[in-house]
Symmetry: C2
Subunit: 210 residues, 2 copies
Amino acid sequence: MTAQKPRTRIQEKNRARVLDAALEVFSQHGFRGATLDQIASEAGLSKPNLLYYFASKEDIHVTLLGGLVDTWLAPLRALNPLGDPHDELLAYMRRKLQMSRDFPRESRLFAQEIVQGAPRIGDGLSTDLKDLVDEKATVIAQWMAEGKLAQSDPHHLIFSIWSLTQHYADFEVQVRAVLGDNRDPWAEAETYLTVHFQRVLGVTDPMHGQ
Amino acid sequence: MTAQKPRTRIQEKNRARVLDAALEVFSQHGFRGATLDQIASEAGLSKPNLLYYFASKEDIHVTLLGGLVDTWLAPLRALNPLGDPHDELLAYMRRKLQMSRDFPRESRLFAQEIVQGAPRIGDGLSTDLKDLVDEKATVIAQWMAEGKLAQSDPHHLIFSIWSLTQHYADFEVQVRAVLGDNRDPWAEAETYLTVHFQRVLGVTDPMHGQ
DNA sequence: TTTGTTTTTGACCATCTGGTCAAGAGCACG
DNA sequence: CGTGCTCTTGACCAGATGGTCAAAAACAAA
C-alpha cells in the first residue's frame, strides 16, 4: 500500500523541504502557474537536485494532494455518532476552522484543485469522500429524526460547514480587504460562526444576546 | 472614464467572442494555465488575429475581471435599506445563488483570482468593494439594532452569503461527486439555503418542520 | 475599377519550462 | 587509501508559449 519510505535521513529531510516549498508555490500560483525553478529555489535546491527526489512536477503535486486528503477529512471522521449532536457538529466546525487558520496553504491548494475541476484527484472524490460524507450524513439525519437537531438536508449542512470555514482561508485577501487592517478575521470568524451554527442547528437554550 | 468603444460591428463581435472564450479557458485553468492558442482556438480565431483585438494575454484577463466586478456586486447594491430586512437579505442571497448558477465560469474566474492573492485586482478590493460592503453592513447593523434581525456581525453575515452561494459554483465538481448523479445541486441549494438563512436571520414565524 | 482602410494569417522569434545526463563532490566503510 | 554509494550540479535539449511582422485578403467608399 504505502510507498517505500526513503531510507536516509537526508532524503527524508529534503523531500519534506521540497514538499513544503511546492505547497507554498502551488497554493499561490496553481499547478501550471508554478515552475520547478520557483519550487527548487524556495526549497534551497537546484532544479536537477529537486528532480533527484521527485520524478516530475506532477509527482510532487500528486504526493502533496495525496497526503492532504486524509488530513483534510480527519475532522469529519472524528465526528462521533454517540456524542451530543450540537456539541459534535459545533466541534467539527471549529476543528475545520482551525485547520483553515493553521493550514491556509493546504486549503488553497485543495481549493484550486477543485475549482479547476479536480483533474488530478477526481476519482477520490466520488469514492472515498462520498462514502465518508454519506456515512456521516446518515448519522446527522438520524439525529434530526430524533428531534435533536433542526431539520435540514445533512449533505448541505456539511457543505455549509466546509464552505464557511474554508472561506476564511481561501478568500483571506478579500476578507482582510473588506474588514480593514484593525480587525482579526480569525478571531471574529470563530465567534461569528459559533453563533451562526447554533442558530442553524436549532439550539434549544443559548444565551441569546440582545 | 470608459475606454473608447470599438467602432465596427465586427470588432464588437470578435472582442466579445474572445472574452467569452477567455472566460472559458481562464476559469478552468487559471491565468498562467491558460494559453493564447487555447483561447484563440476556442474563439475560432488565429492567435495573431486574437492579438489584433487585445494587446496581450494580460489585457484580456484584466478586461474580463474589470467587467466582472460591477456585475458581481450588483446584487449587493440592490439591497434596499427601506425594504423588509428578512426579505431583502433572503432576496440578496437568492440573487447571489442565481448568479452562481447562471454564471459559474465568472464565479470561478473570480475565485481563482482571489485565492491567488488577487494579484491583478487587489486595489479594487480595498476601495470599491470595502466601501460598498461597509455601507451595507451599516444598514444591516441598523436593522439588528432595531430588533428586526438576530444580532450578529454584519460583515461576517455578508461573508456567509458569499461563501455559501459561491460554493455551489466554485466547488461544483465536489458537490456533484458527493451528492451523486441523481440529485440536483442547484434546486436543493435554494431550498436548503433558504431555511439555513431564515434560521440565521432569526425568522420570527417559520413553519418549523418536525 | 481604383484607392484606402480594416481584418486575417503564415512564418518567425526570444524566452521559458520541464526534464535529461554525465560528471563531479561528499561520505561511509573496509 | 581505495571502493562504492548517495547526493549535487553545470550544461544542455526539445517543446511550448507569448508576442511580432510583413504581406495578403476583405471590405468600404469613390
